[in-house]
């Protein structure tokens, strides 16, 4: 019994340390956004200080971060909606049918995802420039499909496979169309999985810097990470502003992730069900 208690305690301590390591950088980020420039760099570090919101004030009212957050939202929502709408049926098709070309298609999807973004960027930029689609959120929504669709398909194929085939066959006998089955039987049973796929894809889209930086550089269409990176171009790095924008960029995603953490824990089986 004592041994059991000891183990429990060790587990607790271990997890506590893990929690601390995860949280600390966030604390540092938020704290730095509220300090003055010299306080940020003070050694020994300043643990107690008077919070100063000037960085947030400047970032919001002078640098247009709200507009860029809105752009990020549009692009992310657009990319996710498009990717899931198109990818979920695809995953279903791959899960339920055996047809020629099936493995080639899967390979093509994963290859898309493995391509180094930097190089894909050049042809994409040239094509977009030709079509006068630079600084257009639709351009980003489209190029994000190169990782959204593979991710969605990868995560959902196993989710759909896990739905007992008996349920679907029963519905078939009742005269339902295949698509109807997909929509009304399979999907509702895999809501956690679909949610996880959507959330993960959304996280990657929201956080993207490279594509957004190059394809939507103008002040009107740019996304939030671009604004943060623009602070690095000057002569001095305004650290409190950098951290303030970092908090505003990461905040929504983290809060969103926390809100559906239960789904993530349940939905990330990633093929655990064989």
């Amino acid at each position: 019994m004592a041994r059991y208690r000891l183990f429990s305690l060790l587990h607790g301590v271990f997890l506590f340390i893990v929690a601390l390591i995860i949280i600390f950088p966030f604390y540092w980020m938020v704290a730095s956004s509220l300090k003055s420039e010299s306080e940020i760099f003070q050694i020994p570090p300043v643990w107690l200080f008077r919070p100063d919101f000037h960085a947030y004030h400047e970032v919001i009212f002078e640098d247009g971060i709200l507009r860029s957050l809105f752009n990020s939202l549009i692009v992310t929502a657009g990319a996710v909606v498009l990717g899931v709408t198109v990818g979920a049926p695809a995953a279903y098709g791959i899960a339920r049918y055996r047809f020629r070309g099936r493995s080639q298609i899967q390979f093509w999807y994963v290859t898309n995802w493995m391509l180094i973004p930097v190089v894909v960027l050049i042809p994409f930029y040239l094509a977009a420039a030709d079509l006068r689609m630079i600084d257009n959120p639709i351009t980003l929504i489209l190029i994000y499909q190169t990782f959204v669709i593979p991710l969605v398909v990868w995560l959902l194929v196993d989710q759909f496979k896990a739905v007992p085939i008996a349920l679907e066959e029963a519905a078939l006998l009742d005269g339902m169309s295949r698509f109807g089955i997909f929509l009304r039987i399979t999907l509702p049973l895999t809501v956690p999985g679909v949610t996880v796929a959507a959330i993960l894809a959304g996280i990657f889209a929201w956080n993207d810097l490279l594509y957004a930086f190059i394809l939507t550089p103008g002040t009107d269409a740019r996304t939030a990470p671009t604004v943060m990176m623009s602070y690095l171009g000057g002569y001095i790095i305004p650290w409190s502003k950098v951290m303030a924008s970092a908090v505003m960029i990461t905040g929504p995603v983290v809060i969103g992730g926390i809100a559906i953490h239960k789904y993530i824990a349940r939905g990330l089986t990633l093929g655990a069900v064989k």
Binding site: P217, S230, Y235, I236
Partner: protein, 467 residues
Amino acid sequence: MRLPMLSLSVDQATVEGNVMKPSVKSILLGSACAAAVLGFAPSARAWTLQQAAAPFKGETVTVVGLDRPSYKAAQKLTPEFEKETGIHVKWVIYPYGNTLKAETLNFVSHSGQFDAILSDVVWPVDFAKANWVTPVKDFMDDKAILDPNIDLKDFFKVWRQGFTIKGQLVGLPFDSYSGLLYYNKKILKDHGFSGPPKTWNELLTKYAPKLYDPSKHLYPYVLQSARGETQTADGFTRFLWPWGGRYFNAAQKKITLDSPDAIKGEEFRQKLTKYMPPGFLADNHPQVVQLLAQGQVAMITEWSAFYPTLAASRIGPDLGVTVEPKGPKGRFAAFGGFAYMVSAQVPKKMQDATWLFIQWLTSKSMAKPLIENGAVVARISADTNPALQAKFPYLKPMVETWEHGSVSDWRPQIACYPYFSEIVSDFGSKVEAGDYTVPVGMKKLSAKLQSYMNSTDCWSSVNIPGK
């Protein structure tokens, strides 16, 4: 036009009878008036920006800028231009590292995104060779949009040359820097020095040992060595020229970085690194400026454009600024800056409107207000103005450097400069980090550059200033 004289002469004639016959006099007067109307009227009407801009009213000119004081000043004063011309100006600001990327992609894809192109002093060969920008002459030939006061000779010679490719001027200088030595007057005084060092040798042998005290977080000097253009320009090239080292001999198509002089220069740099604070290999402009401002370092050699930033920082009245130290073979301070050019890929109308803007921005009359708002320009009249010099102490050493201590091709003016610079930065970093000894590193660097220049036939694009 009425000729009132006619009636007078007729009266006089009838009264006195010994004046010229009215008809001849009136003919002469008439001809004089006619001549005045036909021949001299244009000079009576001066060129104004407003008139010149009339055909372009309502257009929007897109201008590339950086997040630096000069562009902030320009943006602040832009409404004056907009009000006078009715042309709307849209500023697009990029971090320096992305500017060439964005502009090159813009040109290669013919997207016409930018009208006014910002060019670093090492990019014009690139832009000109590919015919991406329109030469200045094309605009100077058009009297309707040429400001007669443009006075190109009022730009420092070294700047005009810097943007003259194969004999053609392609840009108007703006945001121009020279390298300067910034120092902390108080720290130097406290350690027994009455003034800053005049030569690099002095800095190393006399100043450095006395100012080196890691336990008190005090270092004599720090060199910004971050990878990329900073390493190439600030780090590597700075220690090349003053010792007699040169990048290449263009006539012989040979890289000369493995010459004894070049090696001597870089070896000097290695000796200096022993006195630098840890982490200098990762330091870029913001970091070294911060180190001087916080009093951890006594001297830095940085761009003149940093003066306002430093003056406003913690160092305050202790800030001293002077020309860069001399090397054994002369003073060759860091040379860097930009110019505005007109994109050749936009319609002629836009090009002309753009020309009006950059002409205005870089004009003699705008120089003073720009400087007062924190910008750095290359206009002789403004930079040598005694009132301005008294207000901005960096102007005097900067002018002195441009006139006697700078060369336009301090960094090679070649079409393949971007990748050339990457190679130099790579090896420069490795040598500075001690991965190679200086002779070995310089030899490897020379070999790599030689093969790159040969394989891309970059030699044919070498621009020699003044030729």
